[in-house]
């Protein structure tokens, strides 16, 4: 009898725990659905206060999320902290806004879900997609990119048809992942870092790797003997736009960031950063 009672109590506790989280999250998202104003998916208190008080702009420090495995946009710098084009860009934006910037390195696939609770802004060479736009607001695009296909030098892959029924390596949750998953008969291996996928290409575990053009060049340049990067246009991949992701409905923040971005473009800082970090002049 006691056993039964204990079991029932545990069950009730467990269920109430789950529903407690569940109902509050459904409440916040229910309000976000019609007006699309509330902040992101999470039901956490800070996110709600944020949308109530207006904006992440009210804070002195902006917490930035990135995934430092995407050179030259972001990578682990010499001291281990994230460095690269995106990081310098967001620092410059922070300066314009008069905010301190704190950069957090995290998994790419959890960036979008973290905006509005763990982080205020994500800058990670993130492509604007419809699905992501349902969850976050994007700044004006700041960079155009296309996916590349990295293959070994002796590979026969050259067109979209060749990708069918192939083993494809990608980074989890990236545009390359989405493209690869849609290819007919493809067997997709999702890695935490694109460079792991490239390693497995060299080891012969995958037939090709789909990743954004700039990192692709970067990876290939480290293995010029074995690898080559093929242009995405060859495979019919569309051009994508990188943008900065911010909490859904935080228009004040989006406008401020867009304004800062515009100023940086006008005063030449932006081009300077591109030249220093990406085109390597």
């Amino acid at each position: 009898m006691k056993k039964l009672l204990a079991l029932v109590l545990t069950g009730v506790l467990g269920v109430s725990l789950l529903t407690a989280c569940g109902s509050s999250s459904s409440a916040s998202s229910a309000s976000s659905a019609p007006a699309e104003t509330a902040s992101t998916e999470s039901a956490s208190a800070p996110a709600e206060t944020e949308s109530a008080s207006g904006s992440a702009l009210d804070k002195d420090t902006l917490v930035i999320g990135t995934n430092a495995a995407f050179p030259p946009f972001e990578y682990a710098g010499d001291d281990g902290t994230p460095a690269g084009f995106d990081i310098e860009l967001i620092n410059a934006i922070g300066e314009k806004l008069g905010k301190k910037v704190e950069v957090k390195d995290m998994e790419f696939d959890s960036l979008v879900a973290s905006i509005g609770n763990k982080i205020d802004i994500a800058i990670a060479g993130m492509t604007v997609t419809e699905e992501r736009q349902k969850m976050v607001d994007f700044s004006d695009p700041y960079y155009e990119a296309v996916q590349n296909v990295i293959v070994t030098k002796d590979s026969a892959i050259a067109s979209a048809d060749d990708l069918k029924n192939k083993k494809i390596g990608v980074q989890l949750g990236t545009t390359g992942d989405f493209i690869a998953s849609d290819i007919e008969g493809s067997e997709v291996s999702q890695y935490n870092k694109a460079v792991d996928a490239v390693n497995d290409l060299i080891n012969g575990r995958v037939d090709c790797v789909i990743v954004d053009a700039n990192p692709a060049q970067e990876f290939v340049s480290q293995h010029t003997e074995e690898l080559t990067a093929l242009e995405g246009s060859q495979f019919g991949f569309e051009t994508e736009n990188y943008a900065i992701a911010m909490p859904k409905g935080d228009t004040a923040l989006v406008e401020a960031v867009n304004q800062a971005l515009k100023e940086l473009k006008e005063d030449g800082t932006f081009d300077k950063l591109v030249a220093e970090n990406i085109t390597g002049e």
Partner: protein
């Protein structure tokens, strides 16, 4: 999104439940083969560790086994997996094989300690009795000591199997789509963490609960002869 829509997008849309199912299959497959390898190798290691020379001093086998257990227990299993994947078995395409091997070698170290403790817990007099009845050392071990040790071994061994099953959650590091990775994957598609993560947690729980029940039955049957 309402909670219902979240549920739909995390489990039903685009047949996503199949991903959890496939993931669970891989998790169980890896854990199963690793457990078998761990059990066999672990028992061998335990016997090596307990082996002595004729003069009663520990022999070279003892030191080999001790070194193995020390090295495996002294390094994180995720590193062992990465080393196995990227270095030792670099040319193998069979992810489940590489992971099973990595976890099996890891588990063996822990199993060996469990087995060793189980054997040591059997009264010394049992060995002496067997020997004085004219059985060889190996025969006494096989027919008298090990069967009794089994009873001591089963409960901590169940613990080890459970740990092993959960530890396989790190295979996402090497792009194997196990249950945890399936949850990650769906989260990366729906940008919604709650449903996939809680869903995967519930599935792990159910599987491990079932395993616990089976182990409980085995344990009870082994103890049946205790109350005479």
């Amino acid at each position: 999104m309402t909670i219902g829509e979240k549920f739909t997008s995390a489990f039903i849309a685009e047949n996503r439940w199949q991903l959890y199912l496939k993931g669970l299959g891989i998790t169980i497959e890896i854990a199963f083969f690793a457990a078998i390898l761990g059990l066999i190798l672990g028992t061998v290691l335990a016997l090596m560790k307990l082996s002595t020379h004729r003069n009663g001093k520990p022999g070279v086998m003892h030191y080999i086994a001790t070194a193995y257990v020390d090295i495996i227990r002294g390094t994180p299993s995720v590193l062992q997996l990465l080393i196995m994947w990227f270095i030792v078995m670099k040319s193998s395409n069979n992810g489940v094989l590489v992971a099973s091997l990595s976890f099996g070698l890891n588990s063996a170290a822990y199993v060996s300690e469990i087995v060793r403790a189980g054997i040591l817990a059997v009264d010394k007099g049992q060995m002496e009795a067997g020997r004085s009845l004219g059985l060889t050392k190996g025969m006494t071990m096989r027919y008298i000591v090990l069967p009794q040790a089994m009873k001591n071994i089963i409960p901590p061994m169940g613990n080890e199997f459970i740990t092993l099953l959960k530890e396989t959650a790190i295979v996402g590091y090497v792009s194997l789509n196990d249950l945890t990775r399936a949850a990650n994957l769906i989260q990366s598609r729906t940008y919604e963490a709650f449903m996939p993560l809680i869903g995967a947690a519930v599935i792990y729980f159910v599987v491990i609960k079932a395993l616990t029940l089976v182990l409980g039955v085995v344990e009870r049957r082994l103890r049946r002869s205790d109350n005479r």
